[in-house]
Each structure stands twice: as structure tokens, then as C-alpha cells.
Amino acid sequence: MALAADRREAPAPAAPSGIARQERVEAASGYLFALPAALLMLAIILGPSAVVIAMSFTNYELGAIDWGWIGLGNYGEMLSDRTFWRSMRNTFVYVLIVVPSSVLLGLAIAIMVQSRIRARRFYEVAFFLPVTTTLVAMAIVWSFVLHSRIGPVNAFLQLLGFEAVGFFTDPDTVLFSLALIGIWQLVGFNMILFIAGLSSIPRDLYDAAAVDGADGWLDRFLRVTWPMLGPTTMFVVVTTCITAFKVFDTVVVLTDGGPLGASEVLLHSIYLEGFQYFRIGYASALTVAFLVFILVFSLVQAWVIDRNVHYR
């Protein structure tokens, strides 16, 4: 929120005459310009979100005629609901796999690609390609590539003498397989953000480090690159967290939460409770839980952007 207050620009010097009138006109058009957006924002984002919070204290079910306020009843049910805890756990495991892998891989690739000259453009485009693909369509491709029995990856593993892996059918593996798809789509995105960050590191810092006796790439990385990339890294981590936390498409298309509920994630639970079983009140409570986590991530992000801006 600090963004609003402290970085507004100083008022432009105005002409000495007719100031008051001009300011009135200006202010009026300010309100006029902001009005449609503000109304829409209330109607489609903030208003409904407030309604969700209110509904989470009711036992409303779709079409129900008598319903009432039940206080924290839904939250109580949530805390004792095995499915809820399972989807929380699965969602966090997913995030914990996807975030470090896609961030570190993105960083490594960015460093390698950024120092290329002729091949740089090619690598950037190639690695970025998955970001532009339609995840639902690619999920179907992955379901084939990672088929437990007749997929090419398993054919390859067996050729090397390994057992076939039930990528989407083994409860111990399924989250990793979904995470693999998540990483696949995020790596290029993170790479591009890191390249942008790397390009803004002044070259004389490396020269200075060399004078200080930093030789070898690891030394240079630890002394210059990593500290200078700090804000970028934070930003990438938070963005990736939010994206990973919203995992849904691949679950719906590939596993429907199975096998044995091992890929049941929070958004999928909300979808099932709200739109399949029509338990709006309970689904609202789940949504509030979802919102809380997103808000935490977002606050961290806002703080990062804030710091990021100061840096420049």
C-alpha cells in the first residue's frame, strides 16, 4: 500500500491564472476516468469476494430454500475434514517441488543462455515455447508420453533396465508427475525473468570482483551474480509460488484427484464441493482458506516489488 502514498509525483507547476477552475475540471475527469474501472472492480472482484467470505459462515447449498448462519461451522468441518487436509498437503508438496526446481533450473539456464552470443536468441525462443502452449492440450500429450505401460518414457526406462513407472497411476508418484508438467511450463518463464535480471547487472562489478581476486565462475557467481540477482530471485520465487498454488488444469484433465486422492489439490476440492456437490457454504470456506494463502504470497510479492523499485 505504501506504493500509493510515497511515490506519487509532485504536482506539476500550474499556470498562474485559472488554477482553481482547471483543477476542478481535472479532478472531475479524474473521477470520470476512474469510475468505470472502480465500479467493475467492485462488481466483479471485490464485491463477490466479500460475498464469498459472508457465505462461508452459512450452510447454503445451491437451490436450498431454508439456510442460515452457522458461524464458524464450515471452518470447524474443514479442520476435521480428511479431504481438506489431504488437498492442503498435496498442494504444498506440489508447490515445494515445483518452486525450487523451476527457479533453480530457470536460473541455471538463464546463466548459460545469457552468455551465448549467436545461439542466445535460439535458446531463448526454444525454452520459452512451453509458456505459450495450451496447458490442457499439452497435458494430454504428457499423459501419452508418460503412460505407465506404453509411453515412450517408460519404453526408454525399460530399455535401460529400469522398472516401468506408473507416472499418473501410482499414488506415490502422481504429484511428482504433475509437478514435472508444472516445471516444464514454468522454466522458460523464469529463465526470461532471470535473463532480464542478469542483463541489468553492471559489467564493471565483475571487473571489480576480478581485481579483488574473484576468479572461477563459482566465485564470480557467489560474489556478484547471486547478490545482485536478489530482488529478481525473490520476485520469481513468489510468482512461481502463486502459479503453483493455483494448480488445477492438469489435475482435472489427467487424474481427477486420484489415485487414492493422492493428487487432490485445493482448487480441485473447491471445484468439486461448489460446482459438483453444490455445497456453496462449505466451498466458500475452502475458498477463504485459498484466499488467505494467496494473500500471504501477494503481500510478500508487493513487498518485493516495492524493494525492487527502490533498487533501480
Binding site: 472502480a38 472482484i45 525454452f127 512451453p130 500429450v141 482435472v252 484433465v253 508487493a302
Partner: protein, 298 residues
């Protein structure tokens, strides 16, 4: 190749004790290693896409014949694609995708640009409040207001309409945020001069400020179209007719247990649905990458 000329974290520091030739050999070895690693990563990244393309032109009997035979032996460039077109209205889905993405984008620009301008360049008392709302809105993904929106849309008869598909996205708080940042760097002198010339604020926005903001608009457009072309959650909730299904929804519906064993046409359908964005990306790589980078939030 003169990689050392480029300042980079990986570039070699010439070490006095090494002979020039030795440095060259080490340099070449490093170069080979870096490319090898990158190519290995490329196999992971491009593998599924290439697999999709080659399988989409394989005849049915080749698809399972050899588990890891990449290239088709008797390519059939047409069959699987015509099967895919015959079994699902793919063109309809893509047309719907175009309509929905275009509709959303146009309204987003119309609503967010004036608001962003007001926040960046106009002094009015409500500004901090509006901006606070923008920041709050930034944190709320569509899944949060989805339930009440669904109930309201049902009441208003907006389920299974284009408007129902688009309305929740008519305002992009993110666009406001992005454009505000961009407009702030626009010189105040020019705006003042325009005001002195008697231009209305409306004219200033659309005729003075917007033309200079083209990069930001292009960047945002890329972001918006990519997001809404690929969105599954909201269409899944509001649409139950082929006539309105967007590409991901259409493909998801198509992927049932029985048609699912027809991999050739599945891959053809996947290729067709992914093609528009991939081609657009390959044609306008720079704008795409810039767009996604500038709009970092996803």
C-alpha cells in the same frame, strides 16, 4: 567464437599461468559442456512438443509399434487431422477462443487505460482509494469470486453466453497497475502543453498518451490473450455447449476414455489448439517475451 568477449558470470578470467593455447582448449571444452547441458534441457522442454507433432502424422499401427521411435516411417499428414476435425468442432472452439480473447482484451483496454491515466497524471482526492483497491484486486485470482459470480450469472441468465465467459475479466487490475507505471514516466510538460492548447483530458489520454504507450499495450495484450486463450477454470464452470466452448474446454471434453485410445487424432487436436499461440509467438518472439517479462505476474 569469442565467448570471453562477452562479460558474463560464466566467462573465463584469463589466468596468467595458462598458456594461450591451453586457455583456448579449456574455453572450447567449457563451450561444449555448456551447449551439451542446454541441449539436454532442450530435450526435456521440446520433447513433448516434438512428440506431439510426430505422433499427429503417424498412422495408427505405428503409434505403439516401437515405444521410442520418434519419426514416423509412413507419415500420414492428413488422416489424423481430418479425424480430429470430424470428431470435434475444433474450428468452432478456436473461433470462440478468438471472440472471447478479443472481447476481453478490448474492454480491458477501454476500462483500464483511462483509470491508469487518472491515477498517474490527474490529481483528485479519490486517487489513493482507487489505487488501494487496485492493489487489493491484484491479489485476488478469479477462483475467489467464482462462486458468487456463478450464482449471479445464473440469476441473470448469463450462463452459456459469450458475455458470461468474458464479463469477469472485463476489468484487469493488473492492466491498471502496469499502465499506471508506464504513464508516470510520460513527461508532464507535454500534458500541460496539451491542456493549454485546449485539449480535453479525454483527448489527451487517447491522442497524446496512448500512442506513446504502445509497447506497454502490446505487452499487456500478449499477457491477456495468452491467459484467456488457455484458461480452463471459468469456461468449465459457465459453459456447457460446444457452440461456446473455448479451445482448452473443447479439448478437455474430447479427451474421454474411448476416444482417448485414438492417440493420432488426439495429438492432431492438441497440435491444432496449441498452434495459434505458438505461431504467433514464433512470429513475434520479441514482443511475446517482452510482454511476458514486463507483466511478470502471471
Amino acid at each position: 567464437m569469442s565467448t570471453t568477449a562477452e562479460p558474463s558470470p560464466l566467462a573465463l578470467t584469463p589466468v596468467a599461468t595458462l598458456s594461450v593455447a591451453g586457455a583456448r582448449i579449456a574455453n572450447a571444452a567449457r563451450l561444449v559442456a555448456v551447449h551439451a547441458l542446454l541441449i539436454l534441457a532442450l530435450v526435456f522442454v521440446l520433447g513433448p512438443i516434438i512428440w506431439m507433432l510426430t505422433t499427429s502424422v503417424k498412422p495408427a499401427n505405428e503409434i505403439f509399434q516401437a515405444g521410442i521411435d520418434f519419426m514416423p516411417r509412413n507419415p500420414q499428414p492428413i488422416t489424423n487431422y481430418s479425424d480430429a476435425f470430424a470428431s470435434v468442432p475444433l474450428l468452432q472452439f478456436m473461433m470462440n477462443g478468438v471472440i472471447v480473447c478479443a472481447g476481453i482484451l478490448v474492454v480491458q483496454l477501454l476500462t483500464s487505460i483511462p483509470c491508469a491515466y487518472a491515477l498517474a497524471k490527474i490529481r483528485f482526492r479519490g486517487a489513493p482509494v482507487v489505487f488501494a483497491l487496485v492493489l487489493l484486486g491484484l491479489c485476488i485470482p478469479i477462483q475467489v469470486p467464482a462462486l458468487p459470480l456463478y450464482l449471479a450469472f445464473a440469476q441473470l441468465g448469463l450462463l452459456n453466453t459469450y458475455l458470461g465467459l468474458m464479463l469477469p475479466f472485463f476489468l484487469s487490475v493488473f492492466a491498471i497497475f502496469l499502465f499506471r507505471q508506464f504513464f508516470r514516466s510520460f513527461p508532464d510538460e507535454i500534458i500541460q502543453a496539451a491542456r493549454v492548447d485546449g485539449m480535453s483530458e479525454f483527448e489527451i489520454v487517447w491522442r497524446v498518451v496512448v500512442p506513446s504507450a504502445w509497447p506497454a499495450i502490446a505487452a499487456f495484450s500478449v499477457f491477456s490473450v495468452t491467459a484467456h486463450w488457455n484458461d480452463l477454470y471459468w469456461p468449465l464452470i459457465v459453459v456447457s455447449k460446444d457452440a461456446l466452448a473455448t479451445p482448452p474446454l473443447g479439448v478437455a471434453f474430447f479427451f474421454d476414455a474411448e476416444t482417448g485410445s485414438d492417440f493420432g487424432s488426439m495429438m492432431a487436436a492438441a497440435t491444432l489448439v496449441s498452434a495459434p499461440l505458438i505461431i504467433a509467438f514464433l512470429v513475434a518472439q520479441r514482443q511475446f517475451i517482452q510482454g511476458i517479462t514486463m507483466t511478470g505476474l502471471k
